[in-house]
Symmetry: C2
Subunit: 92 residues, 2 copies
């Protein structure tokens, strides 16, 4: 999991906002994230506009703490950001 994630304790969640350079990148990322959600069976809350996506990961049991499952999922999303935004990490 990259350092771009903010760990909130109450409520327990991981949050990241990603900026993209255009809508095509945003859609590309959302598409990849949707495939990940289906393969993992976990569907984060996401918000987006033309050039941003914000993601919130919550514990599956809804009352737990930020756990290793969430950090692993966050790491998978980080990889999708790099794939959708090939110019690198520096846009954030």
């Amino acid at each position: 999991m990259s350092s771009d994630w903010f760990t909130r304790k109450k409520p327990a969640q991981l949050e990241r906002r990603i900026e993209f350079s255009d809508y095509q990148q945003t859609r590309d990322f959302l598409e990849r994230a949707a495939e990940l959600a289906e393969s993992e069976g976990y569907y984060p809350d996401m918000g987006f506009g033309r050039t941003y996506v914000s993601i919130t990961l919550c514990p599956k049991d809804d009352k737990g703490e930020v756990n290793e499952d969430m950090r692993r999922y966050a790491g998978l999303l980080d990889e999708l950001v790099l794939a959708a935004r090939p110019e690198g990490r520096t846009v954030d």
Copy 2:
């Protein structure tokens, strides 16, 4: 524009939350909404999880009032809801 939209005055925006019966419907709607956004050149703020999408439409000039352009766009989104959720309007 259907009566499912909430008109907020400050800040001026139209808001609607739509429930879907499964993730496939949610993705289907988001895909249609993305195509609408590209064809209209206007990209609403959206939030979504597995079985919901929430939409916020703002005036293009960012300080205006809720206007006919926004209501027209809302009506186009209403049509996409019906297309993605063929079982009807009663899920909301």
